[in-house]
């Protein structure tokens, strides 16, 4: 078996040491999955690491020589080893020189199951749901978890202006109801760039008209229900085409938007957020979209960037209005320079392989993003958690959150860093040492 490559003897030795305790516990339960420490109903688990990238939304981001306590699938405590007492009975796993960080979150992915998620029936299809296509533990999800990506927003394609409803799900093996994080996870809107394929003659103005029609009708439906609930009107007839808009109107669900090019991104911000007041974030956010960063910042519309990391001067001919420059423009740098405080990364997997999410932050930095407050790692963890509305459960190693923890050999933005173990809700979901090392 191709278990793993000996990147260096040093690394191999560290890996063996780190998962030795796991081997022992597995050996005790030869017939089935043992309840390992950290899982619900099992003993507590103490992870001792050289560095913990804790990643709270506010406050210090990093703890050196750290202990993370895990119990019942959740983070119980995190702190410096010198000041954190490990309760009696906890299994202690000394990770040596390795780091721990929250499981990474990709808000733009299509690999949650089968790819029949771009049904181009109408130009807007807000009623279609990708949850019908989820296949847990599929090969692409196995690659995801090997790269430390534990949560994805699995969304419809961009063949129409609204492809339907996405689902936030874990990448770990499990039944649908075990891996579902948030259903619906988002309404997918594609403002321009692919929906032109729907029919000859479809362009920005008619796409814009269709989208505004959809939003106005959907929000009218939501308002009718709100009126009825407040005793101010008749009970509306239930219509599953518009049901989602009740959750959109109450800000419980976000809108993820395939949007790029300055004038389209501007329309995302001014129409969806400005005119309709809905929670929205820009996906893609490429090809000069960063020029709208000051408006996005003012209107509190976050930017999740990818799969492109850069704009090049050639792209000007596509879109006409791009500022000309004789260099490679980093997208994260462009958004950051424009003031955007909430910058995250995506892969649009399988456009980029899901396991390369951390490399998106690497390229962001290579092409000019300033690492001021570990922003490269924030964009993989707490920022997408906040933007996706799941930061109460995920995105940082704070007490009470789900114990989705990646054990790795260094900074995730360095491609030479290897992922050794991944915990999801306290359970070992990927073990590169005793299972198959995928890379």
């Amino acid at each position: 078996m191709n278990s793993y490559h000996s990147r260096s003897l040093c690394h191999a030795a560290l890996r063996t040491a780190a998962c030795a305790t796991l081997t022992l516990s597995l050996a005790a339960f030869p017939g089935g999955e043992p309840p390992t420490a950290g899982m619900p109903g099992a003993a507590g688990l103490a992870l001792v690491a050289r560095k913990a990238l804790v990643m709270p939304f506010e406050g210090p981001q990093v703890v050196d020589n750290a202990v993370v306590l895990v119990r019942d699938g959740r983070i119980e405590a995190v702190g410096p080893r010198s000041a954190t007492q490990i309760p009696a009975g906890y299994e202690v796993r000394d990770l040596g020189a390795r780091w721990v960080m929250p499981g990474m979150i990709d808000l733009h992915s299509h690999i949650g199951g089968t790819f029949d998620i771009n049904d181009m029936v109408y130009l807007t299809n807000p009623e279609l749901r990708v949850q019908a296509s989820v296949v847990p533990d599929n090969p692409d999800l196995q690659r995801a978890i090997a790269g430390g990506v534990t949560t994805i927003l699995y969304i419809p394609g961009s063949g129409t202006n609204s492809g339907g409803q996405g689902i936030l799900m874990k990448t770990a093996p499990g039944k649908f109801e075990e891996i579902a994080v948030d259903v619906p996870g988002s309404l997918k809107v594609a403002q321009w760039g692919n929906p032109e394929r729907w029919a000859i003659g479809v362009g920005k103005t008619i796409e814009n008209y269709h989208l505004r029609t959809m939003f106005k009708r959907g929000l009218a439906y939501a308002e009718a229900w709100r009126d009825w609930e407040a005793g101010k009107g008749p009970k509306p007839e239930k219509d599953i085409q518009w049901e989602l808009f009740r959750e959109l109107a109450s800000q419980e669900v976000e809108i993820s938007v395939h949007t790029q090019v300055y004038q389209v991104v501007l329309m995302t911000i001014t129409m969806i957020k400005g005119e309709f007041g809905l929670n929205v974030f820009t996906d893609h956010s490429e090809i000069g979209g960063w020029a709208a960063a000051p408006v996005a910042t003012q209107m509190k519309v976050p930017a999740i960037i990818g799969p492109r990391s850069i704009d090049t001067s050639r792209m000007g001919s596509w879109v006409g209005a791009l500022p000309t420059f004789d260099r490679v423009q980093g997208l994260a740098a462009g958004w950051q320079e424009g003031g955007q405080p909430l910058i995250g990364f995506n892969t649009d997997a399988p456009v980029l392989p899901e396991e390369e999410l951390s490399l998106q932050s690497a390229l962001g930095v290579r092409y000019g993003m300033q690492i001021r407050n570990v922003d490269n790692v924030r964009g993989l963890t707490i920022v997408p958690a906040v933007v996706g509305g799941i930061s109460d459960r995920l995105g940082s190693l704070e007490p009470g959150k789900q114990a989705d923890i990646v054990v790795l050999t260094g900074d995730p933005s360095d491609p030479r860093t290897a992922v050794d173990c991944v915990y999801v809700e306290g359970r070992v979901a990927y073990d590169a040492v005793h299972g198959t090392r995928r890379f």
Binding site: I310, S313, R314, D326, L359, A362, V365, D414, R416
Partner: protein, 427 residues
Amino acid sequence: MLPALMLALLASSPLGGGEQDAATPRAGEVGGPGLALIAAKILSATLDGRGVVDNAVLLVRDGRIEALGPRRSTEIPAGYEVVDLGARWLMPGMIDLHTHIGGTGDINDMVYQTNEGLRVSTAVVPHNPAIEKDVQAGITTILFIPGSGTNIGGQGILLKTGLDTFEQMRLRDPGSLKIAQGDNPTRWGYGMGRAMMNFHIRTAVRKGLAHARARIQEDDGRPRDTVDIQYEVFEALVDGSTQVSTHTQVYQLVMNTIRILKGELGIDVYIDHGEWAAHKLAPFAQRMGVAAICGPRIIDTFESPRSDTDGAILSVPGEYKRKGLERVGFNTDAPVVPGEELPLQAAMGVRYGFDASHMDHLRGLTIVPALVAGIADRVGSLEPGKDADVIVLSGDPADPRHGIERVYIEGQLVYRAPDGTEGPRLW
């Protein structure tokens, strides 16, 4: 526009002696005074030895490297301009043996199934936008080759990226003969399969070699009465002054690269691409003296029907190396992967399992491609007598967070990154 930018940068450079006439050679250039570069770490990238000197000084004179050594034991001659680069690192300019961005894109003329007489040297455009990005990313030498639409696309050319004219850029022409063994040449005509393509390649190469050997034998100084430029390149292949670069991948094609081109026909050849389980041939390649320059794909995945990875994502260069091939390098196939991302190819190689514990990923960007292309007497490492193609950077180039600060080619400062206060950087 870019040459003007370069001049502007040089004029404002503390190195440049801003008041100088642009025609006066600067320190390190041919005819100028000597130049001493002091850096925290110099990656000499020599094939043997550690390849690293800490707290080091590099002496450059007349466009060439004069000396390299620890600062404490290396005397800087009087009159040399001294540039202290502080915590920066130096390394040789990087070399990409598979690119298509040396000029225009009309380099895939699918006239016949084999076109050994066609030369991309007719398509070179100095300072084109893509090649400028190569310069700014520290790639100082490229092999600009024809496309893979036919079994033999023609002759590539080895170029220095940052210089101004064709003559200055030309490092060696022909840089290689490009052979594409499978996949893309099937587009040439209906019914093209491996057996037919293999027949075409063997026919062309055998005819060419016979022609070249005959001409070399009869070369007694008299004017030649027969001229067939279709076969000119084979004279360079016979006398060892150029190589065959192959578009080859999948086990059985790479097997043919090694067995037929090297074994049967005796040509100096290296594997380009080389992905999809072909790394199983690493011991055979090593025995036959065939190197692998990997890219643009760096991984075999477990989902690909062409791969056999047993559930893993395998580093293609990593597997060649692990299975015993000593000479392994990286390419981009630019613009397939942008040329400026060459060091990221090494980074991806390491990410997926290439053993970098002895800095071999750096050798795969420098001395290995130099040796493979037969230009190691000029480039590929920082050793006395070689061209002063030197890049200044903030750390290991396989970590994308590090940026390129300066690029020298033959002692000329061809790129200097703005420091952030005088305008945007390349990135």
